[in-house]
Amino acid sequence: VKSALVFLLALGCSSVGAVRGTASAVDDDLRTARDQNAETCAPRELAVAESNLAFARLALDEGDSQRADEHVALAARSAREAVAKSKECARVKVVVREQAPPPKVTAVDTDRDGVPDVEDQCPNEPGPKENHGCPVAAPSAPPQKLVIVRRDRIEIRQQVRFRPNRSEILPSSYELLRQVANVIKAAPAITVRIEGHTDNVGKKQKNMRLSQQRADAVKTFLVRQGIDEKRLVAQGFGPTRPVASNATRAGKAANRRVEFRIVQPDASPPAAPGAAGTTPAAPAPRPPETSTPPASTPAPNDAPPK
């Protein structure tokens, strides 16, 4: 009897020991399962394993080793299932590696126009981006032919304008006089007489003086344009050489004028290859000297002689 009792006690102790050992193993499995995110991937298996492990310990505390054994066996099986099921759905580990910064590329811009050479169709000439880096040609005004060279005169298509009753040339006539200067420059052998004329309004003496002053002013302008002073003669004629009747307003306007006479015509006619608006004089037939003055567009109203 004694031996039987000792055997039963030993059996019971060994059974409790086995349950505790199994429970410890289940604990390990559960830890693994939780690490593998089993709460999300195998929630039922994890719950069953955890619960039955707790129940097994409770049964052990109550001395019911058989019930404890049943619980721990169930816990062990569920824990293994949880581990297996969550293995596939473990927490995803994303490793973010620092990337080296991209190499700095400095665009070459030879002409420094802000358009890199790779996009610049004119890499050596600055130009706006809109024109693919090429310079935009400045819109040049079409050359206006204000001056025509005749054999004995330089005909102007505009009248030289002055401030009323003064000899100050208005800026609107600068371009005209520049073209005259170019023509004279192109024919270095000629001498030009600048003639000032007025209408017959007012005293003759005053008109004579004013016409002289205006002819002098034109001469000064041309000299400043690079014409040798010796090649220019300024002369005021006042009202003495009218080209139209002074009885009408239009006639008076036509008489108020400046003319450019070629007093020493060159052997070869003054050709002006570079001068704007010039035409060769020699081949052209002599224009008819009619009542139309050679350089007489009507003078503007803002520039009366007096």
């Binding site: 709460e39 719950a47 129940f55 409770l58 927490r91 994303v94 490793v95 973010v96």
Partner: protein
């Protein structure tokens, strides 16, 4: 007096077990199996164990297990309601982001 004290055990346990049962019914009604399977399963198991303990007249254990079951059931009902309300899809594995160069 002895009878009264002895009666407190089963009565108290029954009350707690009943409360846990009600909580579990709510969790199931909230579709807890789908939206909170972990908590619902635990509540189920703890309540079953509480009843087993109750049957063996181990009321203290029964009460303790029933209370745990009730907590899980309430947690399941709450979680299910939240996930259902936000139409949250089934949970996906959580990701941990590791920066090798970052200081820990």
């Amino acid at each position: 007096m002895i009878l009264l004290v002895a009666a407190c055990g089963p009565v108290g346990a029954t009350s707690v077990v009943n409360d846990a049962e009600v909580a579990l019914i709510r969790a199931h009604a909230a579709n807890g199996e789908r939206y909170a399977p972990y908590e619902t399963t635990k509540a189920d198991l703890y309540l079953a164990k509480a009843k087993e303990e109750q049957d063996h007249a181990r009321y203290a254990s029964a009460v303790e297990l029933a209370r745990t079951a009730q907590q899980y059931a309430e947690s399941a009902a709450k979680k299910a309601a939240e996930r259902k309300g936000s139409d949250e899809p089934p949970p996906i594995p959580r990701a941990t982001i590791e920066h090798p160069g970052a200081k820990k």
